[in-house]
Amino acid sequence: MFCPRTRSFTAYCFLPLPTIDSISCCVTVAMLFFFSCARPSNQGTGDHKAVIQNTGSDTMVNLAQAWAEAYAEIEPTVSVEVSGGGSGTGIAALISGTVDIANCSRKIEPQELEKARQNTGKEPVEFIVAYDALAVYVHKDNPLEQLTIEQLADIYGEHGRITRWSQLSVTLPKGGKDKIILVSRQSNSGTYHYFREAVLGRKGDFRLGTLDLHGSKDVVELISRTPGAIGYSGMGYATPNVKMLKIAKRAGDPAYAPTIENTISQQYPIARPLFMYTLGPPTGAVKQYIDWILSPQGQKVVVENGFVPLVLYSEGGQTETSR
């Protein structure tokens, strides 16, 4: 720390005024820090407000937010902080132990399970909290009403044969182009993985040249503006400008619309469970929160957000069992 020209090291140290300044500054900062930390715990009823960190799936982020808001009304001492980022992000946070509940729109992978065990010494515990039916959307002017899973695989698969609407005996109105515009999701999203598995099988891959959009809502938005497009997204994202197709398991089987009833009765074939994961069996506020989510009140929020509840609570109070 010598000055290259004239100044010596002692001169460099010889600085009375700023030293006093910096000491007082440090003290002020320390005091500010102390008081800002001390204050919240003295507030309210005297006990600490519990915070539940909840991160993960983008598909579930609106639902998780709705749960958190509804729960804040009945349990004001608990605050649930929700963020998105994707299923992978949520599991990664669980593995690093920075989150209480990870939302995941797919099952946890065996490698992730192993990593979580190694890293935290705890076993991730799985809860199915709702179902999500993936609807296949087309433009509202498209005369197509239903498809089979095989046809979908032919449309979307890497080696599929259907690339034109005329192959499905569909003529688009108002001079729409014959070419099928395939709308898909970016290759890391839980929705993409689930659709691939449900339609193309474990070993299938999507055709190259799909439009890989970045959000569930974007898919519906694009299809509503593009007459020749077909795409998949959660059934909660439907708008009046798109049409949801009925799906049959195989040719000859009846086709079912993506409705809550058809999902619970397992007749609609493209539906998946939505998961929450905790590290070890949940305790305290986290346990209460998950119990509430699984209760009729929590499941009511599921329906309000366009997802499918575990159990259909009918008006008369009777229940229909889920799978």
């Binding site: 970016q186 799909t210 439009l211």
Partner: protein, 297 residues
Amino acid sequence: MIIWRRFEHILEFAIERIIWLCGVSAILFVFGIFFFVFREGAGFLFHGFDPIEFFTSPEWYPTSQTNVRYGVLALIAGTVSVTALAMIIAVPFGLGTAIFISEFCSPRLRESLKIIIELLAAIPSVVWGFIGLTVMNPIIIKLFHAPIGLTVLNGGVILALMSVPIIVSIGEDALKAVPDDYREAGIALGATRWQLIYRVLLPAARNGLLAAALLGVGRAVGETMAVLMATGHSVRIPTSILDSVRTLTATIAAELGEAPVHSEHYQVLFIIGILLFSITFIINLTADLIIKGIRNR
């Protein structure tokens, strides 16, 4: 008094050092970023990375369960096609604007034009992307009877609009740098305005104008958000400007967020980062060398 003087000297010294640090920090940051990007990608780059597949296969299947393929040919084709179209539109348009501003404008019009063009540069790229998605998409479908409007054309036009401000401001500086003697000599020889520009100013400012165009290219290659939204984000080698494509930058933006850290996929995305870094570095270096060429003359 002596203490005060000593204090002043030290202050002087400190300020000098701080300014020196500010100057050097740019170099440190660039090398730091390059080092980081390289380190993240290096593990796979040297172990198991197949450069022949990487550069020659158009098949990009980073998350396939059975057959993972990392071919970026289609992504390179996407970046090149969108950039080329953007430059075909932006270079004549930008240089034309630069010539108009520097040679034909009244001073008042010049000032307002410059302010407005700089405003164009201040619009965030997400906004451009949104315009591409919601405004240009239906227009292109209607005008060209295309099945979809999220295409090379859409991305190219958006990128052209984004690079024009850079080309205009640097091109105008280059034209300004031509000494007035040249203009006066040209006029004295009886040249018309057009002859003056075509025969005297353009050759004299050639290097600066080329640098302007190259910096525009650099801007277009590196742009992410707007092309992510406007080009359809679809892996394919385009055969016409009405095809959807996907660019290198958009691929990183879309997939890095959910690629498991240090997985192969993650590292390949960083290798794409190295590729992009090299492309923009070469473009900017060329532009810099050309600019230097002007100064040394």
